[in-house]
Amino acid sequence: MKQFGAFVKKEFFHILRDPRTVMLLLIMPVIQIILFGFALTNEVKNVNIAVFNSDLSIESRIITERLSAGESFQIKKYLHSHTEIPEVIEKGEVKLVIVFNKGFGSDLRHTGKASVNVIADASEPNLAQSALMYATNIIRASSQEFLKGGEVSSAPRVEPSLRLLYNPQLKSAYNFVPGVMGMILMLICAMMTSISIVREKETGTMELLLASPVKPFGIIIAKTIPYFVISVINIATILVLSIYLLNVPISGSLFWLLFISFLFVLVSLSVGMLISTLVDSQVAAMLISGMVFMMPVILLSGMIYPVENMPKILQVIAQIIPAKWFIAGARKLMIQGVDVVYALREIAVLTFMLILFFGLTIKNFKYRLD
């Protein structure tokens, strides 16, 4: 035990000798949360638009006001002729142009039907689509109001009414917080751990350690401890940031969310240890943990693309990725706020993976050099 303590201390010395890496590991979750939370958002916020209103009725003015009232749009320009439309879009000044043709107001008043042209710059398709949807909703909602109070009553129409569960404002932050956790924990636990163990093999110090009375298995367990500590700090950072900065509440039980996070940390550490028993160079360790474990985490774990929309074969592959189960479980516990019984399957799969990877590590670990 004393030997183990000396070992753990040494690992901390190694890590602290390279403060830039420590800073990177601790700041990375902050940067990722901010990046994903604010930059890569699907929400429509402060999109510049232009309005060409040749109608000048009360209705068209009210709709224009409504468009600029919320956070979604900012009216950058009022146009005075059709010829200006391509110009503002080409220059990139606005993403959307709303055109009210002459007679919009009277058409709406008399026939209950009027058309608005919405021209979108679709070079950024996702943004264009969401912006279009937002604008359409605002215009439709306002028109409906005019009709209710208007003289001409329209026949009752059935409008699809959508209700969004768990994430009513469609905040994208909700979705990616478990994803960022999965990615960062995988990176620190699997990649950093495997590199630090393999480095001892590469420099030859492993030989020295194997010739010492330290239990060989203690060597790699001691190597995981500093990364475990860093992971715990990162889990805390991510949760605090998502609650207080992104206003994503933890709707479920904090205890079980932490439980599944620690479980995932252990799974990732055992992945790192397993990699370290399979390869002999730091480059190989980095490639394996990067290509075999990190890439699929990002692409197949449902962090960015929903697993359900993937081709069958990729869905099958996704099942064997630990992060996929963690992210699914964390989403249930954190965002849906369901009881832990609904996440038992994820917890069971992660536990099974932990036993499997740890078992393989013990089986593969070489107690001697040959």
Binding site: K2, Q3, G5, A6, F7, K9, K10, F13, H14, R17, D18, T203, G204, T205, E207, L208, L209, L210, A211, S212, P213, V214, R368, L369, D370
Partner: protein
């Protein structure tokens, strides 16, 4: 404890069809400085690794400090020190961090580590460098420090695998002073080397050729037997017979 602190009986190691160490026999007594010579590829390192419990012998028997090397390798490890040419210290750690680590893994108590590290730094005149990174030290200092750490727990035997590679004769001399000190304290020293002047410093030397031990005696007797002026001549005569390339 028996007077014979290292025993090798028909010790053999095969990797596939290649016999790296071929039926070697020798005994080393307590406090002896035993030189283990041989050209590159002669099987010195393999033999030494078997004795340290790092490799399992294919056949034959070995005992170090009274413990069987294949069955009781954990006990063997607790009673030996090991130093290899290049990587016996952590370069990115400070001198005192290395001392504390090696003291710790050999099970020394904190106050023992403290007193021994003071003595050690004193002997090496390195008190001012306790806080320096090992990477910043000259090679000769690193080697002396590595040796001192390999014996920080006062083991029965210390195995040195080409410990003085690449340093000047003066530093090598200083290094050997440390070896003599250890030997005087009763620590058996098992050392491989390329330098024939170092072979002269040993109590006895063995010369390995192609996995076998071709000669084993005191340097004086060997020189007399081969009618040679120096160990260098003895070594050249024997090593010329080698069929194995590097």
């Amino acid at each position: 404890m028996a007077a014979e602190i290292i025993i090798a009986e028909n010790l053999t190691k095969r990797f596939g069809t290649f016999t790296a160490v071929d039926n070697i026999n020798f005994e080393v007594s307590k406090g002896e400085i035993f030189g283990f010579l041989g050209a590159n590829g002669a099987g010195k390192t393999t033999a030494m690794r078997m004795l340290c419990g790092l490799l399992k012998p294919t056949s034959g028997r070995g005992a170090v400090a009274g413990f069987d090397i294949s069955r009781e390798s954990e006990r063997v490890k607790a009673n030996i020190g090991y130093m290899s040419q290049k990587f016996s210290l952590y370069e990115d750690l400070k001198v005192w961090e290395n001392i504390r680590f090696f003291g710790g893994i050999y099970g020394l108590k904190p106050d023992e580590i403290l007193s021994r590290s003071e003595r050690l730094l004193n002997v090496l005149s390195m008190q001012e460098y306790a806080g320096s990174l090992v990477a910043s030290l000259p090679l000769g200092w690193k080697q002396k420090l590595a040796f001192s750490l390999a014996i920080i727990h006062e083991p029965a035997v210390v195995f040195l695998d080409e410990p003085t590679g690449g340093v000047d004769p003066i530093t090598r001399r200083e290094f050997w002073e440390l070896i003599y000190d250890a030997s005087d304290r009763g620590i058996t020293v098992f050392v491989t080397t390329h330098y024939m002047d170092e072979a002269e410093y040993c109590n006895r030397v063995s010369i390995m050729v192609d996995g076998r031990i071709d000669a084993l005696d005191t340097p004086e007797n060997l020189k007399a037997r081969f009618g040679a002026q120096s160990m260098n001549e003895v070594f050249t005569m024997l090593a010329r017979k080698a069929k194995r390339a590097d």
